[in-house]
């Protein structure tokens, strides 16, 4: 029983790091993706092409490689060194370390690229008539986007978005490549002591979390079912 409690508390600590990475990545990548999607549908060709290439690179290379590049490459090329922190910040102490922040940067950029493509698809799927109806009613471009188009886009993109977001919580495990001590790091650590069951136990954490996410997405979908696009 003592062992079970010890494993539980260690995995919980690791999972709080995973969830923190998950939440902060979403907070940054969701709006960043929208900005990138505007750039990739821009009429200004250099901007559009630049961001299309960026998105291509981010979607076309392994996330693990991107994490490596962001964390190690600046130091290897003598550009700058990610400032090492003695400990993390305040009560996050063991969570928000330099490594965590480097991983957060990599995840945010990578996921923003994926999100931008989902947004782009969503925006382009809205009929031209919606934009024109807004125009002839004297709305500004911003008003058309936020008051008319956005909610329709959100409704359209919830299924692909929920897929991507569920993938994200599982992808956070890639952060232990640069020694962010997430739940799978500790599960693997227990394996070194010969304990295999914590790995499956860690799987249960993910499973429960994804279950919660699924419920939330279903709720949102239901909330938006009052209209059709």
């Amino acid at each position: 029983m003592g062992e079970f409690l010890q494993v539980t508390s260690q995995l919980l600590e690791g999972f709080s790091t995973s969830v923190m990475l998950f939440i902060l990545t979403l907070i940054i990548a969701l709006p960043l993706g929208l900005i990138i999607s505007f750039c990739t549908i821009s009429k200004f060709a250099p901007l559009r092409i630049f961001f299309k290439v960026i998105v291509w690179i981010l979607r076309g290379t392994p996330l693990m490689l991107q994490i490596f590049v962001i964390f190690y490459l600046p130091g290897l090329l003598n550009l700058f060194v990610w400032p090492t922190m003695d400990t993390g910040w305040a009560w996050f102490d063991r969570t928000i370390t330099t490594r965590f922040i480097a991983a957060l940067v990599a995840f945010s950029i990578n996921y923003a690229a994926y999100f931008s493509e989902i947004y782009r698809g969503g925006i382009e799927s809205i009929s031209k008539g919606q934009f024109e109806a807004g125009q002839v009613l004297g709305m500004t471009k911003t008003q058309i986007f936020f008051k008319v188009v956005l909610l329709q886009v959100i409704k359209r993109i919830i299924p692909p978005m929920s897929n991507e977001i569920i993938t994200l919580i599982k992808d956070t495990a890639l952060a232990n490549f640069i020694s962010v001590l997430d739940i799978l790091y500790w599960a693997k650590d227990f394996m070194l002591d010969g304990l295999i069951w914590p790995l499956f136990y860690a799987g249960a954490f993910y499973l429960v979390f994804v279950g919660l996410l699924t419920i939330i997405f279903n709720r949102v979908e239901k909330k938006l079912s009052y209209f059709r696009v």
């Binding site: 290897l76 700058f80 090492t84 003695d86």
Partner: protein, 263 residues
């Protein structure tokens, strides 16, 4: 849209400039460590060398030495967990200053990074009854051998093609086999053997003289050409000379590389 592009460029350049300011100046590691006022040591959780004790503090043979070294330099010691496969990238990207983690100083690794003077060693030795007639590797090959399953000792048994091998669940079980007479020889870590064989419960056992397998020496890893090496070597030798390292070795059960430390 041009405005947005200009804005993005400005931000990118700005960030690059800010980060440039924190970039390290010269090539001196010693200066860098002093400027940052901390020595960053990369480890994995690997008892008895590095582990977190019940108080949540770093403990272990290597961790304690690392703290002492930082103290001698007059800077803080920061021990960070790294992924073992990335130790060279961690060093070269200056994320850490030292790898101090019971690291085997192999030739391959030596091509990438520098090593301090070797401070400890490990090898597999043969433990037999004090009155045993076994004195050579050839005799061991055909004897009844006990090893811990999955250990370096088990690897030795396989490499040497020993004929009769009893895999047991712990090194101590292997010695117990010899003590009980169910096996003739136990192949175990020299560290373990030195700390128990010939004493107390195991007084009736001995280590076969002149027989050892797979010698490994442990050293601290540094960036190639680091000027910390001279400081670190002097520190290790001095701490051996004043008995500190020997005391730690006894506490944690580590086999010292006495020849290197004394030299």
């Amino acid at each position: 849209m041009k405005k947005i592009l200009a804005l993005i460029l400005t931000v990118v350049l700005g960030v690059a400039a800010c980060m440039g300011l924190t970039a390290c100046g010269g090539d001196s590691d010693l200066q860098r460590v002093k400027d940052n006022n901390k020595l960053v040591v990369g480890v994995t959780v690997y008892p008895p060398m590095d582990y977190v004790d019940d108080q949540g503090e770093w403990a272990g043979f290597d961790a304690e030495l690392a703290k002492m070294f930082a103290e001698e330099l007059g800077v803080n010691c920061q021990i960070v967990i790294i992924t073992w496969a990335q130790k060279v990238a961690e060093l070269n990207s200056k994320q850490i200053d030292l790898v101090w983690n019971g690291m085997t100083a192999s030739e391959e690794l030596g091509a990438q990074i520098d090593f301090s003077v070797s401070y400890a060693k490990n090898a597999q030795v043969a433990v037999v009854k004090a009155d045993s007639a076994i004195t050579s590797k050839d005799q061991i090959k055909t004897a009844k051998v006990a090893v811990e399953a999955g250990s370096a000792g088990a690897d030795v048994a396989a490499d040497e093609a020993m004929t009769t091998v009893n895999p047991v669940t712990a090194q101590v079980d292997a010695i117990n086999e010899v003590k009980a007479g169910t096996s003739d020889v136990a192949i175990i870590d020299i560290t373990m053997a030195q700390s128990v064989v010939g004493k107390g419960e195991y007084a009736g056992l001995k280590i076969v003289e002149g027989v050892s397998y797979g010698d490994e020496i442990f050293a601290v890893g540094l960036r190639k050409g680091s000027d910390l090496k001279a400081k670190l070597d002097t520190f290790l030798k001095a701490k051996y000379a004043d008995g500190t390292i020997t005391a730690l070795a006894l506490e944690y059960g580590v086999g010292l590389n006495t020849e290197a430390l004394a030299g």
